[in-house]
Amino acid sequence: MASAGFWLWFWTIALIGAGAVFAGITAVVAVRGGAELWRMFRRH
């Protein structure tokens, strides 16, 4: 089970990293993407 311990730590760190990045990018894309969409339609 020693290898299971290593993998549990590995996946815990990977999961926290992936979750944080997911939330962060969502916030940025929501704000900046909204502005981009607005500009795109003003051009039309």
Binding site: M1, S3, A4, W7, L8, W11, A14, L15, G17, A18, G19, V21, F22, A23, I25, T26, V28, V29, A30, R32, G33, G34, A35, E36, L37, M40, F41, H44
Partner: protein, 483 residues
């Protein structure tokens, strides 16, 4: 706790809003380029939103949660590969940079430029077959998710599936890629918020300790170590790296996003950022599956476990938000896929066949009309297939293998065409036929998915090399013999 009137109101408001936005996009539509690749006018953040939303549907949450439920933390290796491979494709610009420079609308279109019209049509047929069979399981899985989460009696499943299909068909047919880009943005935000809410609920209510204990008790070390887990292993990891590289570069709906960007450089950036999103897109729903294992036990139906857990876990209002988020995910994926596979039929089968019969090229308006008709036929087929086909084994592997029908050969022929001077038409045909043929091992002979998938990519690559070599020797008699 049931689905309250408040939850229903949230979902109805969301659906009405999305539908109105999609239909409003119609007035911005001027030609086939607007319809299929949004006039090649997407910037970085809209590009990220639309690429992530296109490849993240309820079906994604369902198959990843199923993997988490069945194989524990080891399943994370699949999410990790999907994100890291996309990151690398974005960093290097492998294939996507050259594709965007060529200003294509579909992947098979490249085959006519590099190889021949005949290979384009053959590829178009295989892409349409694999893509439509792939999408064929979406409706059933999405219907099951919604029926379980909302508490609608199960005999309304078919009505739920038909309803989902009709809404997405309506705005895809009318608005094309422009409406998809707009709704994708709204849907990306909704589905991401839904994903974060559900993850927090799972960790808070089920508990991290319970999840680790459940995996340890029911699976032991293979529940954590993907190298010793019988579903995975080193062969699976290598196959997934190849498969995801092919998906990121040659999968029609992804490629359409590459082709929609303002510049080739922007395509690379979008892929890099979306790769980071893909890490969470894979791992977070797998965690929901593990939470379902901890809460419901291993005896539960693996596909229905996650929505059953959410139905118990989420409170009023939150449930409505999550269902709206999942409907968002469903519609963004399905509308893009409908458009993607239909565009293959109109652009790569009907168009080239007309040209071969010396008919004058179709006007932009006629191409859009054919695309819309193809949309309707593809929808009817997937509804029938969803009801008829019974899945045996993990959904994720079925989706991988249906994609491999065309991806293995396409990937080999695209790499050959873009990066190898000696690649020729004979190699292209050999790669497409051998790659598609190898998937018979999974669908007919019931061979394990890893073997069939590996064999398909390996055979397609070998066939590309051997076919090109043989084709070169026959060159004096003219390449047209293959076309």
């Amino acid at each position: 706790m049931g689905f309250t009137w408040f939850d229903t109101a949230i979902v109805i408001l969301y659906l009405a809003g999305t539908l109105a936005i999609g239909l409003a996009a119609k007035r911005f539509l001027s030609d086939i380029s607007d319809y299929l690749v949004a006039g090649r006018g997407l910037g970085l953040f809209l590009g990220i939103a639309t690429l992530a939303a296109t490849e993240t549907g309820t079906v994604t949450f369902m198959y990843y949660a199923q993997l988490g439920f069945q194989t524990g933390f080891s399943a994370f290796v699949t999410g990790l590969i999907s994100g890291l491979v996309m990151l690398m494709v974005g960093y290097t610009g492998f294939i996507i940079h050259r594709f965007r420079k060529l200003e294509l609308m579909t992947v098979p279109e490249y085959f006519e430029r590099k190889y021949s019209r005949g290979l384009r049509v053959l590829t178009g047929c295989l892409v349409a077959l694999g893509g439509i069979l792939n999408m064929g399981m979406f409706l059933r899985v999405e219907g099951e998710f919604l029926v379980i989460l909302t508490g609608i009696p199960f005999h309304y499943l078919k009505i739920a599936m038909t309803g989902i299909l009709l809404i997405e068909l309506l705005y895809t047919v009318v608005g094309g890629m422009l409406s998809i880009v707009i709704t994708d943005f709204v849907q990306y935000v909704a589905l991401s918020v839904g994903t974060i809410i559900v993850t927090l609920y799972c960790v808070a209510k089920v508990g991290w300790g319970s999840m680790v204990h459940a995996v340890s008790a029911h699976m032991g070390a293979p529940g954590f170590n993907p190298l010793t887990n019988p579903t995975y292993g080193a062969g699976y990891i290598i196959w997934q790296v190849i498969l995801w590289t092919a998906v990121d570069t040659c999968w029609q709906t992804t490629a359409m996003r590459t082709m929609s960007m303002k510049t080739p450089e922007l395509s690379k950036k979008v892929f890099g950022w979306t790769g980071l999103i893909f890490l969470g897109r894979g791992m977070l729903p797998m965690l929901w599956g593990i939470a379902a294992l901890a809460a419901l036990g291993p005896g539960f139906d693996s596909m229905q476990a996650m929505p059953t857990l959410l139905a118990h876990l989420l409170g009023p209002g939150v449930k409505g938000l999550v269902v709206a988020g999942m409907l968002a995910a469903t519609m963004s994926v399905n509308s893009s896929y409908l458009l993607g596979w239909s565009s293959i039929i109109s652009q790569d089968i009907v168009g080239p066949l007309r040209a071969a019969r010396q008919r004058r090229p179709l006007s932009s308006r006629a191409q859009i009309r054919i695309n819309r008709i193809a949309n309707v036929f593809v929808s009817a087929f997937i509804l029938w297939w969803s009801l008829w086909y019974t899945l045996s084994g993990p959904l994720y592997l079925y989706l991988n293998l249906t994609a491999t029908i065309f991806l293995s050969g396409t990937f080999a022929a695209v790499i050959g065409g873009l990066y190898w001077k000696r690649a020729n038409l004979a190699g292209g045909y050999a790669a497409m036929i051998c790659g598609a043929g190898a998937t018979v091992g999974y669908f007919v002979l019931n061979l394990p998915a890893t073997y069939s998938g590996f064999a398909a990519f390996g055979l397609a690559a070998a066939a590309m090399i051997v076919g090109s070599w043989l084709g070169e020797r026959r060159k004096p008699r003219g390449e047209a013999a293959y076309g």
